[in-house]
Symmetry: C2
């Protein structure tokens, strides 16, 4: 995506250098022709937050068309202009999916469980990257769920009868449960729009008695505090992760793609159920992140999905973290 | 480094949410306490440029003090302000070291060979990451050298008698060879400043007859064209990598740390031998990158060391590539 529609560089190189082209040395045969690898590096990355180790684990990318179905209050042309200005492809919207595994030192806590491979072939790498990062699903003590969209909960139970993290206690926001598991609300929803109601029942129904519900605002596990971030869904939560004097906040789906919704927070993705409330929440969290110079993660930001925020014009700028090879 | 000197987030979380703190569910014991991993993900990343596969391979980071020894025409305070504004640590300058392995389909070509572990313990990971990326040093057909600083050439021969890439033809810029291998120039240099003269002889001396010299401006391997980029050293080269209608340019050491020298191209690092010429080269390459919307790599930019350039104020802005999990 980074090299499309661009002049070839041979011409550029010739223009840049004024040196004459000398004869090359006599060519010699390749010693050991290496095959193209054809694959990317494993998608995991670690952050140290005080005594806590956070591992961002990528599930891949979802690639919907840059089209009107995805956008509520802005045009395809608006989106394409913003994407193009930031060197992103304009035919498909790149929606990375990255969950955070938090090792608090006493518990292994997964915040959201990705797609379970149920979305697209390009977003079905979570379990592979989980293993590459050295984790066994049996080790996970707790899964904290931010909200009940399929790309956050399907990984818990992609198939009937399957529990991918067999030892994990599952903790969900009370208002999210109250919305999606309410039979009256489901009945009042047109059948064509009941997908998330049905899917929430598919995932949680058979294990409902084992689900722990938490009130947004409370500490859900030691060092992990939930933050009400409603609008995207009725019970959507962000989370603060802190240890010692270090901290990180994941705003989860308070923005979708960073190149659109960090830059233009007033733009609404069609999945923002209460659009105006989602915008208010987005600005509140990003304002706070900018004011306090927080390290911030976004579930749909470019892997490793974290950076810092500054205000810029009427929106914000994401400064992606500089990859740190030394923990 | 991303979380230092920042308010703890528990207080922030409490302020952000207005929800009351409900009692938590009764705690239960961790099922399978997982140890902290303590290590980072392997530092390699692949780009597809037409039919060519480029793998960025990280050697780690060098961490010199943010101090006057590193800077020529700007102050430590200037540097710290710029770093702080971009959320970088201000005590140590983070200098990542990342070489490019280019598989042209017919040859495996390494552009620069990193430190050979001879710099610091934090920049001694090249061979580990090379292996993680699936490469055997014996497969390398060609090493193209940009210039003769130790963090670019020591990996060829870190120890006497050792040739790390035994089958590789080594190709170096003619003017770089002419400078560093010239006994007269070395004799005219104060002994305390002869480090690179001595080290060039250490690396290349015993294999001098096998070294191929190229004139900057020419295609050095199929799809890889050298670009004269003098100033940092007398023969320093950048390289254009192209296949089909796609391309990438590595400007190598035309900038050091991106947060300082992309943003403020007039600033000179003490290693820029001809400071004014290095500034002119830096601006010429970055101007061209911005005008042509090129994908650009920098040897000392944050891993995976590539992005796009826009003009901003009197300098430039690096837009790091968005990690692409799908080649």
């Amino acid at each position: 995506m980074h090299t499309v529609d661009r002049r070839t560089l041979i011409a550029g190189a010739a223009a840049i250098t004024a040196a004459s082209l000398a004869d090359s040395a006599a060519p010699r045969a390749a010693h050991a022709k290496a095959p193209l690898s054809g694959n990317q590096a494993p998608g995991y990355y670690r952050f140290k937050i005080g005594d806590i180790e956070v591992t961002a684990i990528n599930d891949g990318v979802w690639l919907p068309d840059v089209g009107p179905n995805f956008f509520r209050n802005f045009s395809v042309e608006d989106a394409q202009k913003a994407l193009s200005e930031q060197f992103q492809r304009t035919d498909k919207l790149v929606v990375p999916i990255t969950a955070l595994m938090v090792n608090t030192g006493s518990k292994l806590v997964l915040i959201d469980a990705c797609t379970g491979g149920m979305f697209t072939p390009t977003s079905a790498s979570f379990m592979t990257n989980l293993a590459a990062a050295g984790f066994d699903p049996k080790q996970v003590d707790t899964i904290i769920v931010s909200h009940f969209h399929g790309d956050h909960i399907n990984g818990i139970r992609p198939k009937d009868g399957q529990l991918v993290f067999p030892n994990a206690e599952i903790k969900v926001p009370e208002p999210e449960w109250a919305h999606w598991m309410d039979d009256g609300k489901m009945a009042a929803t047109p059948e064509a729009a009941r997908g998330n109601f049905n899917n929430s029942r598919r995932v949680f129904g058979p294990i409902a008695k084992d689900i722990t519900r938490f009130e947004p605002g409370k500490e859900v596990e030691t060092g992990i505090t939930s933050i009400a971030a409603y609008g995207h869904t009725p019970g959507h939560c962000a989370f603060a992760i802190s240890s010692g004097n270090q901290s990180m906040m994941t705003i989860v789906d308070a923005t979708n793609n960073a190149y659109l919704f960090v830059r233009r927070p007033e733009w609404q993705v069609s999945f923002d159920m209460d659009g105006p409330m989602a915008v208010e929440t987005r600005k509140r969290l990003l304002d706070r992140a900018a004011a306090d110079k927080m390290l911030v993660a976004g579930y749909h930001w470019p892997f490793p999905s974290a950076g810092h925020i500054t205000k810029e014009g009427s929106g914000y700028r994401l400064h992606p973290v500089a990859w740190n090879p030394v923990l």
